[in-house]
């Protein structure tokens, strides 16, 4: 049945596949953003700004590499109905509809185009009419919710809700054709989490600590922090990717852990290595966020 609330075009609209280029020379050239400058600590530079959304209680905007993330915090807002002694907390993470999501062939049940080599076209479904979250959006939302929940002092806000709305405006994997790499999905989740923490601070909601997180990849026993998706030929072979979230000023307590990759022959030492890497990155991000907030006070 057609959607009577949205104008999604005539009923028999076909969404064409994004095919190959008839110009053979440019076919394999990656057209995404060039790789970002890395600091001495191995992390990419990121741009952060708070408070640009005026109708939200708190907001943050973050750009890193080709990823652009915007987070709005609404709350504490009163809820109807019976009294509850603590706030409820929810996170909704959405990609803008035209963006192809990382790893969507794996999780979102999208089809691979027959006559085209670069699988950059998301689906044959009209994305404008999409209701609800995709599997990837749900995965990211539930990770953010789990990781941020321990940091919020929910008891302070009875009979209220605190809602976080994340909009992903751009991803670095959207045009590279390399949407099968775990680093793309975990990388964006990592930055969504950091951005959401900053937005929570901006909203003035009481927090136990600012949750920050790091992402690391272990490929052939080589540790890489904050991996980015550059070439389209990458795959997940012999690779472990992990995003770990911490409360760095509360004894580095781990509040979120998500690992993907070839887990057939991984060892405890590898996980330790990854967690240490993520912790280092998390501290760096935290230091940056701290100095951002001190600079806004001046």
């Amino acid at each position: 049945m057609s959607d009577r609330r949205r104008l999604i075009g005539p009923l028999n609209t076909i969404i064409p596949n994004i095919g190959i280029s008839s110009n053979a020379t440019e076919a394999d050239v990656f057209k995404g953003p060039s790789s970002a400058t890395r600091n001495e600590d191995g992390l990419r530079q990121f741009f952060l700004k708070t408070g640009i959304i005026e109708n939200a209680n708190g907001s943050a905007y973050l750009e890193v590499g080709g990823n652009i993330i915007q987070v709005s915090v609404f709350g504490p807002r009163p809820i109807r109905g019976s009294f509850v002694d603590r706030a409820s907390f929810s996170v909704e993470c959405k990609f803008l509809p035209y963006i192809s999501q990382p790893n969507e062939q794996l999780y979102n049940n999208t089809t691979v185009n027959a006559g085209s080599t670069a699988n950059t076209g998301p689906t044959n479904a009209n994305a404008n009419g999409r209701t609800g979250l995709t599997n990837i959006e749900q995965k990211i939302s539930s990770y953010i919710e789990t990781a941020l929940l321990p940091s919020i002092v929910l008891e302070k806000y009875p009979k209220s809700t605190i809602d976080i709305f994340v909009t992903i405006l751009s991803t670095e994997s959207s045009n590279s054709g390399s949407t099968k790499v775990d680093a793309a999905l975990l990388g964006i989740s990592n930055w969504v989490l950091n951005c959401s923490s900053v937005a929570l601070v901006d909203s003035g909601i009481e927090l136990k600590d600012v949750v920050t997180s790091g992402v690391a990849t272990l490929k052939n026993d080589k540790l890489l922090l904050d991996p980015e998706v550059i070439s389209s030929g990458e795959d997940n072979e012999n690779t472990l990717t992990c995003v770990v979230s911490f409360m760095n000023l509360r004894n580095d307590e781990i509040v979120g852990f998500w690992m993907e990759g070839d887990q057939s022959k991984f060892e405890e030492s590898q996980v330790e290595q990854l967690i240490d890497g993520c912790n280092n990155m998390s501290r760096q991000v935290r230091a940056n966020i701290n100095s951002y907030f001190t600079s806004t006070l001046e």
Binding site: R5, R6, L7, I8, G9, P10, T13, I14, I15, P16, N17, I18, G19, I20, S21, S22, N23, A24, E26, K31, G32, P33, I52, I53, E54, N55, A56, Q70, S72, F74, R77, L96, P97, Y98, L106, Y107, N108, N109, T111, V112, N113, A114, G115, S116, T117, A118, T120, G121, P122, N124, N126, A127, N128, T131, N135, D163, F165, T167, S170, N175
Partner: protein
């Protein structure tokens, strides 16, 4: 008996609990709550870069505009629809509005809720959809797909080559290509609005402007039909659901050629004027302006008699007080050649009716604004 004390509120709280009183107090001292002049529009910034189109190869036209903190992100993606070949012969002049087509916008306003679209989003989408149709901006002919190509698998090179009847006539003749259906593009637009500060009618202005801007920069790609037999259909159990999905089967064999050299701009009606030049892309399409009418009692004249009241025209409504207290509204689209494309009048407030003088004043301002845009 305890005496009732006078309660006083800071301005921002008064604006929320008693928007009409707050507005009256501002206007009676000659100020608007947003500190603009009565007929002053909020400045609009239009992003000059085309990053969204360049970074997403399913986006063919885009526009980002900002007015204050309100940000509108508009992206146009393409759909394809099969057309009945019998209707093709008539020219655009004979068909009237039927010779033109429009955009299918889905507007989302970020305001901390999820679920079905709000009334406001639906009204904005529908108005924009109809306004663009009636302003006769996009002729149907400029969206029809001519000379679509065919993809042929080359076994020696193990890749696909695309041949077009107009670009590669010799090769094309050799292909056994039987595809007589005709297609046309459908323009699907997604408009995301962040930090909504302005009234619904002011948001319409922004949506209209951003759509016209995105249309003027829209580049249409070439289309080719791929070989349907080449797709191998494999039944694979998907992770997310119990149904067996067919991997490798695409629901359409219509493909977009990503070769940017073959992209061609969308031809808008009266295209010489409408295309981007030094005077801007807004000529034929027009610029939308919105106004509100409110009656104020002058502060220096006491009493509620008729003399102390006057109607004021306010341009580009913004903020809580203006939005909820001003119910008489005008929305006008005018273009550079002084043609009025749309007038919408809502006499929502019996005390501040839209008089002829006010309408004239609004029309003049709307025309002037379209000239200067």
């Amino acid at each position: 008996m305890a005496e009732l004390k006078q309660v006083s509120f800071p301005p921002e709280i008064l604006a929320r609990i008693a928007p009409d009183i707050s507005l009256q107090r501002h206007l009676s001292i000659g100020l608007r709550p947003n500190l603009r002049n009565f007929t002053e529009f909020k400045p609009i910034d239009i992003a000059s870069n085309n990053e969204l189109t360049e970074n997403n190869n399913n986006v063919f036209g885009s526009s980002v505009i900002k007015s204050g903190s309100t940000t509108v992100i508009n992206t146009i993606t393409l759909g394809v629809v099969e057309v009945n070949s019998s209707t093709k012969s008539a020219t655009t002049e004979q068909l009237g509005n039927a010779g033109y087509t429009t955009v299918y916008p889905v507007i989302e306003i970020a305001r901390g809720r999820s679920g079905a679209p709000t009334d406001e989003e639906m009204i904005l989408s529908q108005t924009l959809h109809e306004t663009l149709l009636h302003s006769r901006l996009i002729p149907k002919a400029s969206l029809s797909i001519n000379n679509y190509g065919a993809a042929v698998y080359d076994a020696t090179l193990s890749n696909y080559s695309i041949y077009y009847p107009d670009l590669n006539p010799q090769e094309f003749e050799l292909i056994n290509f039987n595809h007589s259906k005709s297609y046309t593009f459908v323009l699907l637009s997604h408009i995301k609005i962040f930090s909504r500060q302005k009234s619904t009618s002011a948001l319409f202005d922004l949506c209209h402007l951003s759509t016209v801007h995105a249309l003027s920069r829209l580049q249409l790609p070439r289309v080719y039909i791929s070989d349907t037999t080449s797709g191998t259909k494999v039944s694979v159990k998907s992770r997310s659901s119990n149904t067996r999905g067919l991997v490798g089967l695409s629901r359409s064999n219509i493909n977009i050629d990503t070769n940017k050299e073959l992209f061609y701009p969308l031809v808008l009606n009266n295209s010489e004027d409408a295309m981007v030049d030094s005077s801007g892309p807004f000529d034929h399409s027009g610029v939308s302006s919105n106004f509100g009418v409110v009656t104020v009692a002058d502060a220096d004249k006491e009493g509620n008699d008729e003399e102390g009241k006057r109607s004021i025209l306010l341009a580009d409504l913004e903020g809580e007080a203006e939005e909820s207290a001003i119910l008489s509204r005008l929305s006008i689209i005018s273009n550079k050649s002084n043609t009025i494309k749309k007038i919408s009048l809502i006499n929502g407030d019996g005390n501040s009716e839209i008089s002829l003088d006010i309408l004239k004043q609004a029309l003049e301002i709307a025309k002037l604004r379209a000239q200067q845009m």
